[in-house]
Amino acid sequence: MTALRRIGTSLAAPALAVVVAVVITTLVILLIGQNPLTALQVLVDFGETPAQQTQAIVVILNRAVPLFLAGLAVSVAFRMGLFNIGVEGQYRMATVIAAGVGAAVVLPAPLHVLLIMVVAMAVGALWAGIVAVLKVTRGVSEVISSIMLNFIALGTASYLLTGPLRGSPEGAAIITTKEIPESGRFPAINGLFDVLGLAQPRGQLFGFLVVAVLVGIAVSVLLKRTRFGFDLRATGLSPSAATASGIDARRMVIKTMLISGAVAGLIGLPDLLGRTHSFGTEFTAGLGFLGIAVALLGRNSPIGIAFAALLFAFLDRAAVPLQFADIPASVVTIIQGTIVLSVVVANEIARQLTRRRAEHSTGQAAPPVQEPAGPAGTRIDARQEAGA
């Protein structure tokens, strides 16, 4: 089995999923009496002038950065067989507190940004840590506890926003925290367009893109190259074999959730540090849940997640232009939803194909694998051992 073929197999599943999603969406658009081709045109139409086109790219990239971080946060836990559904709550808590801290202190620029990042990561990790502690001490399924903690996080974030961290004047339509001063903002990297000889867009490209890339590389190295990453993946593949090999499953649950939560804490920062400079009622929501979809589509590999985030961002960009073309923006959501559904199915098919090929390559029958491991799709029971 050459590397090329392996890559081929891993690309086949998401590609197939996208095709299936496009077919389904076409049917939906036809059903509501619109022209699917118009929708397609809108999707790929980035505008006429070079500035409009680079602006579209900026919109996509700015949207992709938080999606990528969210997918990464989810995937770290997925790799160990943990479902961190709580990314949503983790990033909301992290962002509101980081916004509060960022507005309250004055520091030299790099330190100020760094402090906000550290606070966000710490809060995210702490919030995820609750899930881990409940799991290893009380055997509470992380799925249940992280969903419940999402509600608590949303409520707490609202309380903090309207109460102690409120910065907007009494009676304002949009409640926000105090603005983070200039020193705590992440500079845009629009210089990139000059370097590449492209037209300057209207908007600003988040400098946080650089951080996201670095975090992606760090997570990739951590998972693939380090002992810790090996332990994590081994636990995900077979909790019983991992325990027998000397991995302390409880400790792994805690460490993994802390890392996942820390990455989740960064999700809100591209927007906070690059655009809004304060947390408010209008702050981007739902990134945590989209992260689950992105991680699934990207098959839990950082590179895959990067492409998945770009694809989702590309689709999201079309939400507004679609409405101009009289097509409901929910078409985008339908595409995203069907992609995720079909990717789960396609992943499973691809996994079986890989297995079968592996068996054929040695000509030996493998016994049925009891626990269907694999890309974080289906195993809930097998993982209970890990934390019990």
């Binding site: 089995m1 693939k224 190259r225 380090t226 002992r227 810790f228 990453g229 090996f230 332990d231 993946r233 081994a234 593949l237 077979s238 019983s240 074999a241 991992a242 325990t243 027998a244 090999s245 000397g246 991995i247 302390d248 890989t354 297995r355 090929r357 592996a358 068996e359 054929h360 390559s361 040695t362 000509g363 030996q364 029958a365 493998a366 016994p367 049925p368 694998v369 009891q370 491991a373 694999g374």
Partner: protein, 529 residues
């Protein structure tokens, strides 16, 4: 010796057996290729109606591929399948079932929370007015059960059944679908000796009723006991047939591996003074809160000594092993390793300290099936070179060391990047043993080291254990293979209901005597340890 008839003659070369009745199953020149490998080549198989026909061969010799061909799970590239003299094409298991072929898998496929009846009819339910016709199903199952003396109660829940009964449910499932030819894949692998005898009784009933049984195994003594004729497969092709009445196990085994065989026996003692493992008063609570799974066990393993633990499975051996490895906490007592009390050490610390571990269930505890071999080389050795450098995985080191293990331990696989589940059981086990040996442990906990492993690999594993023992490694051997226990052990303990009930001298012990101790029949005669 590919084309020659085997010791003791065999079947006539072409056509039907002397009496003119066509063969129940005849395979002619079956070849099955997979990319890069020929799994089966020129397979010739002739099975008479109403006989028990054994197919023996090492794991990886191509038995499973052949059976999949016969059960319609894939189609051969060359050759023909004749059923009752008629050429047949089997496109799917459904075709095979329609043609009267049934398969009893090694791993049972039963729903625990269903009754025997529900399990048997599942997938071909008799219905009346759209509802499951239980009365009809019960009647037919009773009929099958009585006719073949299976002794099944249709209304019992499967979860309450023992392994032997579950197997009979599987057999009944196949008979219910009208099978006239039954394929049994390694049916005795999961059974204790008494259950094996029961199974053979059932097979005799099937035979008496004119059914044909194809029995796949590598346990040669059993094959000789139950089979009417034997076909031997080696490296993907049939090397001959044998008559069980005139062929010895040794001759058969030599046909299988194509060379002379070693035996498990080690007689010169290499036992030294220093103890590597000392258990005193070790007790482990059972998970269901009943009597302790391990009850006040004391034993010592010295350098260069093999201490065997015999016992019917489920008498606390698994729990004892897990307690020694730190996977289960002690209720009482202490575990001393090389003079240190390690009772509170983590599993990793114990492994780093020099305890090697061959788990009884390699799929559950020994391997990451969906990971490549080189990652499996790292498993359990995450903190030690050559697999790691500081906090990082040393991919190159792990790969090359995996290659070394594959070479030295004869692990047959395309390369270190092959996924573990693509290997046969014997090759997986050899990899595990190579891995555990590579860190030169002082103590090896070997739980069923040759379970599900073919004769060739078994003898290799025995040799490895003997060499390790000679070099001063202490080995705690847990096994259900009585010959293995008697042959390898310097000291032999018998475990029954969580206690060590007897200490025996393997030099003066027959498997029959040992079997008696294991069931508690001769407890008092010898006295507790």
């Amino acid at each position: 010796m590919a084309a020659t008839a085997a010791p003791g003659g065999g079947t006539p070369p072409v056509g039907a057996p002397g009496d003119g009745v066509p063969y129940a199953v005849e395979l002619r020149g079956i070849t099955k290729r997979f990319p890069g490998v020929v799994a089966n080549r020129d397979i010739e198989l002739r099975v008479r109606r109403g006989e028990v026909h054994a197919i023996v061969g090492e794991n990886g010799a191509g038995k499973s591929t052949l059976m999949k061909t016969l059960y319609g799970m894939h189609r051969p590239d060359e050759g023909t399948i004749l059923l009752d003299g008629r050429e047949t094409t089997l496109r799917s298991p459904a075709d095979a079932i329609a043609a009267g072929i049934g398969m009893v898998h090694q791993h049972f496929m039963l729903a625990d929370n269903f009754t025997v009846l529900e399990n048997i009819v599942l997938g071909s339910e008799p219905t009346k007015g759209g509802r499951l016709d239980r009365a009809e199903a019960r009647r037919r199952i009773r009929e099958i059960s009585d006719r073949y003396a299976l002794g099944l109660d249709p209304d019992e829940l499967v979860e309450n059944l023992g392994v032997g009964d579950r197997q009979r449910v599987e057999i009944a499932k196949v008979l219910y679908r009208g099978a006239r030819t039954l394929i049994l894949d390694e049916p005795t692998a999961v059974l204790v000796p008494q259950e094996v005898d029961e199974l053979f009784g059932n097979l005799a009933e099937l035979k008496r009723e004119g059914l044909t049984v194809i029995f796949i195994s590598h346990k040669l003594d059993e094959v000789r006991k139950v089979a009417d004729s034997i076909t031997v497969i080696r490296r993907g092709t049939t090397v001959g047939t044998a008559d069980p009445r005139t062929t010895t196990s040794r001759q058969l085994a030599e046909m299988m591996v194509g060379s002379e065989l070693p035996s498990p026996h080690t007689r010169t003692s290499t036992v030294r003074e220093a103890a590597v493992l000392q258990l005193s008063g070790v007790s482990v609570a059972s998970t269901d809160g009943g009597r302790p799974a391990v009850d006040d066990v004391a034993l010592t393993v010295r350098e260069g000594e093999v201490v065997g633990i015999a016992g019917v499975e489920g008498n606390g051996q698994a729990e004892l092993v897990e307690a020694i490895m730190g996977l289960r906490s002690l209720a009482a007592g202490s575990v001393d390793f090389a003079g240190q009390d390690i009772s509170t050490w983590s599993t990793r610390a114990r492994r780093e300290g020099g305890i090697g571990f061959i788990p009884e269930d390699r799929h559950r505890q020994g391997m990451l099936l969906e990971a490549p071999l080189w990652e499996n080389r790292i498993l359990g050795h995450q903190t030690r070179p050559p697999a790691v450098k500081g906090p990082f995985i040393d991919r190159k080191g792990a790969r090359s060391d995996t290659e070394r293990i594959m070479r030295e331990y004869d692990v047959r696989a395309p390369g270190p990047d092959t996924l573990a589940h693509a290997l046969s059981g014997g090759n997986q086990q050899k990899l595990i043993i190579g891995r555990e040996m590579s860190s030169a442990p002082k103590l090896l906990i070997a739980a069923h080291p040759t379970r599900g492993v073919d004769v060739g690999a078994q003898s290799v594993i025995w040799e490895l254990l003997k060499d390790a023992r000679a070099e001063g490694m202490g080995i705690l051997l847990i096994s259900a293979d009585l010959d293995e226990l008697i042959g390898l052990s310097d000291t032999l303990h018998v475990m029954l209901r969580g206690r060590l009930v007897a200490t025996l001298d393997p030099a003066a012990l027959t498997p029959e005597e040992l079997g008696g101790h294991m069931t508690g029949a001769t407890d008092s005669a010898v006295g507790a340890a």
